[in-house]
Symmetry: C2
Subunit: 192 residues, 2 copies
DNA sequence: AAGTACACTTGCCATATGACAAGAAATGCT
DNA sequence: AGCATTTCTTGTCATATGGCAAGTGTACTT
């Protein structure tokens, strides 16, 4: 059932059946082909996306002009450039479909309206924003204090979809290492 | 002048002289001794702090029980554990005065009230939250893509106060390296 | 002034990761 | 099936950083 998908994403005890009807109506389905861009650096994000199927990544170019994958977005997750969307500034990152994908989008204005009119949605939004900030903090700490092998093992455990669906080079740049090193780490893990 | 300090911190074009009067009245001055704790892991943050003088750091223990300095807070900056303050959850980090310090605090409830009643303050808050998220993202990217020497050089350039006021070991753990390595990096820089 | 604690530096060697290049495997296209 | 492209692996060597221990410097206490 489609409704189950929305209940899963916007999960909050204050949200009722009729709220989900309203939320659902606010969304439009779009499909993306593997490799296509959902948002590019310099453009302004106007929509909030939830992923039904497929895998996306965000990436940018570091000071050495190397592509760095900053995040992965799996099915049943939310994909946005929060700074661009909420601050109406140009995006600092590219967002790309790694596989063919099905997503549901909601316009920024509609999203804001839901936040204002649906209490449970507002509360959901607050919780979600908090978890976003928590993840961002956690990521820096992990990178600083955990070695690449353990970060990779964590990724396997926590987000196996990524391992299955993403080319090794994107995973490597997400972990902050080269694809050569990641290949060796995999070998090491396999033989131990 | 004290007012100048508040105008500097809560800088926003929508805020007027009388707004700053109100903002100022909402704050109370406190002093901290070098080494004393402003907030500890497990406690709930009830206040928002702005630093007039001195240096603070936040830190936690990683999965190896090593102390990791997650952030520094210099004079004219804001110091809070946003997750704890806004979500009423227990703090995930310790906050400690590295030097003797003078800060101004504002109670959470008073802060919320200002957000609701003063439009310029609300707009300032939105901008500030955005810049926080931006910094968090930037930090992960820097750690992933820039080597320790360049991160240290950046720190010297961007936040010289920290270099002057913090012991080397905190700077090292902030950079994600040992104090031994940082000592060598300094030597390397000095002789080149 | 001696003692103590803390901050910083240095030496030695180990380990993790990178750079580059070649080869192998998988995938897509016609 | 055959070719081209991309993805992944492996070898060799270089560099960055860590772990440990000893040594030096500095500041505070008494």
């Amino acid at each position: 059932m489609d409704l189950d998908f929305f209940e899963l994403i916007y999960n909050h005890p204050l949200l009722k059946k009729e709220d989900y009807q309203e939320i659902r109506k606010a969304h439009t389905k779009i499909e993306f082909q593997q490799g296509s861009m959902l948002l590019e650096i310099g453009k302004i994000a106007r929509e909030f996306y939830i992923i039904e199927k497929g895998l996306f990544r965000s990436f940018l170019y570091d000071y050495n002009c190397n592509e760095t994958t900053t995040e992965f977005y799996c099915s049943n997750e939310i994909l946005i450039e929060s700074l661009s969307l909420f601050q109406r500034t140009s995006s600092k990152e590219n967002f790309q479909a790694i596989t063919d994908a099905v997503v549901w989008k909601i316009e920024y204005e509609t999203f804001q309206q839901l936040l204002q009119t649906v209490e449970g949605f507002r509360e959901w939004g607050r919780t979600w924003a908090t978890s976003q900030i928590f993840s961002l903090k956690q990521r820096s700490i992990n990178v600083l204090t955990i070695n690449a092998t353990d970060r990779y093992l964590d990724l396997i455990k926590e987000r196996p979809q990524i391992i299955k669906q993403s080319p090794l080079k994107y995973i490597a740049s997400y972990l902050g290492i080269t694809d050569t090193s990641l290949s060796r780490i995999r070998k090491e893990i396999a033989t131990s």
